[in-house]
Symmetry: C2
C-alpha cells in the first residue's frame, strides 16, 4: 500500500524560488508542502547578488534586516580600462544603482546559503521544514475540464520517491495536489515532464568565477569593478566579510580540451583563475590567496521556457524557466520574484476569494519579464565580454558605450524597472489621477509622518506581503469643504453595494482580510487631527499619514506633487499584495474600482450563490 | 561550614542599573555575579521613558533595535491650557526633543520589564543569569590601606542570605569581592549600610499614574501632552501598542485620609484616577476603560546621595543614589548611565591596564550629574505642578514660561547635554583643534562614507561600548603634502615611546585591545584611495572613512566644518569607551596625548616593573 495524501500546494525544489514560495504561503496560512532532492542546501558559492527591488520585497516579508547587516553592500561601481602603458587604469567611479527611486540605493551580496537560511528559519518558526531528500518520479494532470476549473479539486497526482541511502529502494508515496510549483532549477524535472522547451541561445563567452579573500593593492577591491583589459575582462563583486568574487573572462586555451573542443573541468583550478586575474589586473598585484572559498566555470546561456504554466495547475518558477549570466546579478532575484508574484494569487484562489483565472496572470507577467531580462542580459554580456577600444583596436567597446549601457540598464539591474502590462490586475484607465505613480510598477517608496504621533513612516513598510490589497486614500488637504467630500466618500463605501463591502472578507485565522486601508492627508503635523478622518478610512490610529516632514525636517514631505496627486481631490491607489500598483482611481470613479476588483475577486453575493 | 567564594565584582540589584552593569561587564569578560532580592523582575508599570541619549548608549551595546521596534516613540509634545469657555484647548505642538544633535530625535516609552528583559536575554546568551532571591545581610570593607590600593585584593566581604521559602531559615554564604556595586533601588540596603544620606527635599505635589488603553476624542492621545487645566494638570505619555500613561495631579482631598493627614492608598483606585482625568480633560471625553494595566501614586521627592562610593571599592548606582519625579522621564536613564559610566572603568582596572584611581572619576562625574538633574527636575516639576495663568489667576504659570523652560531643558530631558568636567579622563587643553566637538560631552553622531566601499556609516556605530578608547584620526584632505604628514605621523606612532605602543595592550580573550583606530579623510568618494592611509592608521579596510555624501547625496558630508576641524591639519579625537570625548589633540601634540593616557593608564614598561 502506497502512502497517499492530499495537499493544496506541492512545491518541488527548495532553492531561493521554492523557499520564497513556501515562506509566502506559510504566512498566508495555505496548506502546502515543500520537497527537495538534495539531502542539504547549498554550501558555498552560487548566486549571491540581491538587487534593490529584491531587498524591498524581502523587507515586505520582514526578512531584509539580516541581509542589510551581514551582506556586503555595493554602492559604487568602478570602471577600469587599458591605459597608455598597457596596464589598466581607472576611468572613473559611478553609483552602482542608477534607478533614482530605489529605497535601498545599493546591491547586496551574500551567499545563497544565507538567503536560503533566512527562509528556512522563518519556516521553522512556523513549524514547517523542507522534506528532503525526495525525488519526484511522475506527475499527471487531470484532463477533465470541469475538474481543472474547480479550485477545490486535486487534479495533479505526483509520485514521490523518498531517498534513504544509496542502497535502499526508495519508498514511494502519492501526493494529490491542487497546485504544483516546480522550482527545481535549470535542469528542472517538472519542466521536462511538462514538455516545455528552453528557447534561446548558448553564447560562446566562457567565464570563470572564484570566491576568496584577496591580498592586493587594487584600490577598488571593495567596490563592484568592471575591468576591461587587453588581457580579458573581469568583474569584481565584493562579498560579505573580507571576501570578494572575481568573474574572469577565460580564453579557449585556458579551459578547452584541444582534442575534444569541450571544456576540460580539470583545467579550471583556483590557480589557473588567479593567474588569469593577475594578467588582467596588471599593473596591480594580486597575491596568491591563502585559501579559496569556491570556484567554478560557466558558459553564458540566455534562455526562457516556452511556457510557465500548464492548465494553471502546475507552474514552473526560477531557474526552471529562465537562465542567464550571473554578472548582472539577476538570477536569484528573478527567481524569488517569480514566486513572490505567484504566491498571493494561489492564496486568494485557494481561499475562494479570487477566480481561478487570476492564475493566468502569473505566466503573463513573469514570462514577459524573463524575456525582457534575457534580452537585456544578452546585450549587456556582449558589451562586457567584448574587447575594449584601444588605439590598436578601433572596433572595441568604448568606456562611454559601456557606461551609457550600464546607466541605461539601471531599471533592470536594480529590479526597480519591472513593469507589468495591463491585465485583469493591472488597470491603467485612471493613470492621470496620480501621473507619477506608474500603474504596473511597484509602489514608490516615500516617507510620511503618522498623523497621530508624527512618527516618520516609510509607506513601503505599510505594504507588507500579507496577501491584502492596500487601498491608499489620498484624502487631500483637509479643509472643511474637503472633509465634507471625505465623509461623503466614507458613506458611499459603507453601502453594501460598494466594492469595499462586496469584496472585503474579514480575517480568518492566518488569512488576512482582503483589504487594508491607509489614509494619507496633505497638511502639517502641527494642525492635522487624525480623528477628523471618518472611521471607515481610519481602521487604527496608526493608519492615518500626513505628507509632511518629521520633526527634524529631514525625512518626508512633498509626496503629493511628487506623485502627481491633486490636494483638492481624493485619489485612491490600489497596491497589490506583491507591492505593485494595480489601479488608481479618483473617488468619483468608484464604479471603475468595482469593475477592477470584480474582474478577478469573488464578491460576497456571488459567493452565497455558489 | 558556610559556603565561601571570591568574585571580582558583586552587583547587588537587578533593575536597569544593575543589569546594565552586568551586561557591560559580561561583554568585557569580567568575572562578576549579580544578585537580586526579588524572586522575579518587575511586571507592569514602573519607569518607562528612554531618552535619546540612552537610545544611543543602548545602541552602543547592540541593544537599541528591539526598543526602536517595539516601543512607542514620542516625536511631538502638545500643550493644552484653559480656553475661554473653561475647558482646555490646544496652545500648540512642538518637537518633543529639542536637542539639535540627537541621533534619535524622539523619546521611547516601553515597560521597564521589557528593558530588563533585553539585558537578561543578552546575559543569557552569554550563559549568565541573575541569582535570586538573595538578600545581603552584612557588608564589611577592609580598613587596610595597602589592601584597598591593591587592585588584586578582595577587600569587601558580603554575607548573602539565600531565600528559599518564607518558612525556611535562609542559607548563608560569604562572598569576598574586589568591588561591589549597590544598584538596589531607592531604599538601598547598600547605601544605608555605608551610612550615606539622601540629601534633598520632599515636595508636596501628589501625582497619580495610570496605564490603560484609552477611548477618547482627545486629538493628542498619541503625543506626549502637557495639559494645564483649571482642574489640575496632566501629562500624557503614549505607550507601546495602544496603551497610554496618564500622570495626574491629585488634590489632597482625593488621596488624603482627613484624620491622619497621610495618603490613604485605598483612595487611589483606577476609578478615582479616571474621574480626575475626566475633570482635567473637559471638554474632551475620556470613556471608562475596559481594563487598567497598572496604577499608582507618588509624592515627588528629589534627592541625591551624599556619596556614591566608599574607598572606590563599594559603589552605589541608580535609584540608590538619586530619586526624582518620573514626569521628566529621567529615572531609568540616569540609572543605566551610572553603570555605563562605571563598568568600563572597573574592567580596565581589573585587567591591570588602568590605575585604581580611575575609579574616583565615577563619583566625580555621576554625582555632579545627579545634582544638576535634581535641580532641573525641581524647577521643571514646580512649573508643571503649578496652576496655569488665567484671567482669574494672574500669578499662574503662562504657556510661554512653560514652553521656554521645556525647550531650554532639551539637553537635560534628552540626556544629550551630559557634560563631564575636566579630570584625569577629560582633558580640554586642545579644545580649539575641533572647536565644536565638546570635550566631556558624547561624540556627536555624524554620517560618513567608508573609503573602500562608499557605504554610509554612522560614526557612533563605530564606537561600540567595548572598553576600547577610539582614536579618530582626522587626516584631512589627502594632497601629496598632507600624505607626507600622515606618513610621518604613522612613523612616530610606531616608535616604542609613542603612547600608542606604550598603552595599547592587544586583545586577550574577551578583553579587547586598549585602542581602536579610525581614520577620517576629507575629499570625495570618487577619488580617495583608502590604501593611501598608512597601515598603522588603517587596521582594516572598513576603518577608513571619508567626509562625503553617499551615492544619493542625502547622507553624510560636511563634518570637517561642522566639527570645526581644519582639513590641512591632522586632528586626533579620543573617544572614551562610554562614547564621551576625553581629549582632542593636533598631531603635533603627541606629548599631550601621552600625558593624558599616562595619567590613568598603566604603560607596558611600568607594568614590567610591577
Amino acid at each position: 500500500m502506497l502512502k497517499e495524501s492530499h495537499v493544496d500546494v506541492l512545491i518541488i525544489g527548495a532553492g531561493p524560488s521554492g523557499l520564497m514560495c513556501a515562506n509566502a504561503l506559510a504566512g498566508a496560512g495555505v496548506d502546502f508542502r515543500i520537497i527537495d532532492n538534495r539531502p542539504v542546501g547549498v554550501a558555498a558559492g552560487q548566486a549571491d547578488g540581491i538587487q534593490p527591488r529584491t531587498i524591498e520585497v524581502l523587507q515586505s516579508y520582514g526578512l531584509a534586516e539580516p541581509l542589510l547587516k551581514e551582506g556586503a553592500q555595493m554602492h559604487l561601481c568602478a570602471f577600469y580600462n587599458p591605459g597608455p602603458d598597457g596596464g589598466i587604469e581607472r576611468t572613473g567611479r559611478a553609483a552602482d544603482v542608477t534607478a533614482p527611486t530605489a529605497r535601498y540605493p545599493f546591491k547586496i551580496t551574500i551567499a545563497q546559503a544565507s538567503i536560503e537560511a533566512l527562509f528556512i528559519e522563518s519556516l521553522k518558526s512556523q513549524g514547517i521544514s523542507v522534506d528532503r531528500p525526495i525525488v519526484p518520479s511522475s506527475l499527471e494532470i487531470s484532463q477533465d475540464p470541469a475538474e481543472l476549473l474547480d479550485p477545490s479539486s486535486y487534479p495533479v497526482k505526483v509520485v514521490l520517491d523518498h531517498i534513504h541511502s544509496s542502497d535502499d529502494t526508495p519508498e514511494q508515496e502519492i501526493v494529490h495536489a491542487k497546485f504544483v510549483v516546480g522550482a527545481d532549477g535549470a535542469h528542472s524535472w517538472v519542466r521536462k515532464t511538462l514538455g516545455f522547451t528552453m528557447d534561446g541561445e548558448q553564447t560562446d563567452y566562457i567565464w570563470g568565477v572564484i570566491d576568496f579573500i584577496p591580498d592586493t593593492n587594487f584600490p577598488d577591491i571593495r567596490n563592484r569593478s568592471a575591468i576591461h583589459s587587453e588581457n580579458g575582462s573581469c568583474m569584481i563583486i565584493p562579498r560579505e566579510g573580507d571576501k570578494v568574487r572575481f568573474y574572469l573572462q577565460m580564453s579557449d586555451k585556458d579551459v578547452m580540451d584541444p582534442e575534444t573542443g569541450r571544456i576540460d573541468k580539470q583545467k579550471v583550478t583556483a590557480e589557473n583563475l588567479i593567474n588569469t586575474a593577475r594578467r588582467t589586473f596588471y599593473p596591480y598585484i594580486v597575491n596568491e590567496p591563502k585559501e579559496v572559498d569556491w570556484c567554478s566555470i560557466y558558459i553564458i546561456g540566455q534562455r526562457v521556457a516556452s511556457k510557465f504554466s500548464k492548465h494553471d495547475r502546475v507552474f514552473i518558477a526560477g531557474d526552471a524557466c529562465h537562465t542567464h549570466s550571473p554578472k548582472a546579478g539577476q538570477g536569484m532575484n528573478a527567481s524569488m520574484n517569480d514566486t513572490h508574484n505567484l504566491a498571493w494569487k494561489l492564496a486568494q484562489v485557494l481561499r475562494g476569494r479570487a477566480d481561478i483565472s487570476l492564475l493566468k496572470t502569473y505566466e503573463l507577467e513573469r514570462q514577459k519579464y524573463a524575456q525582457d531580462l534575457i534580452d537585456f542580459d544578452r546585450e549587456f554580456s556582449a558589451l562586457f565580454s567584448g574587447k575594449p577600444r584601444t588605439s590598436e583596436n578601433q572596433e572595441g567597446v568604448t568606456h562611454e558605450e559601456f557606461l551609457s549601457a550600464f546607466q541605461a540598464s539601471g531599471g533592470f539591474s536594480s529590479g526597480i524597472g519591472v513593469h507589468y502590462m495591463p491585465s485583469a490586475i493591472v488597470d491603467t484607465i485612471h493613470q492621470g489621477s496620480a501621473s507619477n505613480i506608474i500603474i504596473g510598477e511597484r509602489m514608490l517608496p516615500q516617507m510620511f509622518v503618522r498623523a497621530a504621533d508624527a512618527r516618520p513612516t516609510e509607506i513601503q513598510d505599510m505594504l507588507p506581503a500579507d496577501t491584502r490589497f492596500k487601498l491608499l486614500f489620498f484624502v487631500g488637504l483637509l479643509t472643511s469643504e474637503q472633509l465634507t467630500k471625505v465623509r461623503r466618500l466614507a458613506e458611499e463605501l459603507e453601502l453594501p453595494t460598494s466594492f469595499l463591502q462586496k469584496y472585503n472578507f474579514p480575517a480568518q485565522g492566518k488569512a488576512q482580510s482582503t483589504f487594508d486601508i491607509i489614509s494619507i492627508a496633505a497638511g502639517h503635523k502641527d494642525d492635522v487631527n487624525f480623528l477628523d478622518i471618518p472611521s471607515t478610512l481610519r481602521t487604527h490610529w496608526s493608519k492615518v499619514l500626513i505628507d509632511d516632514t518629521d520633526v527634524t525636517g529631514r525625512l518626508g514631505g512633498g509626496a503629493y506633487p511628487r506623485f502627481g496627486i491633486d490636494e483638492k481631490e481624493i485619489t485612491i491607489v490600489v497596491v497589490r499584495p506583491d507591492g505593485y500598483v494595480g489601479m488608481i482611481a479618483p473617488s468619483t470613479a468608484l464604479e471603475s474600482m468595482d469593475k477592477y476588483f470584480g474582474s478577478f475577486l469573488i464578491g460576497k453575493t456571488l459567493n452565497r450563490e455558489a
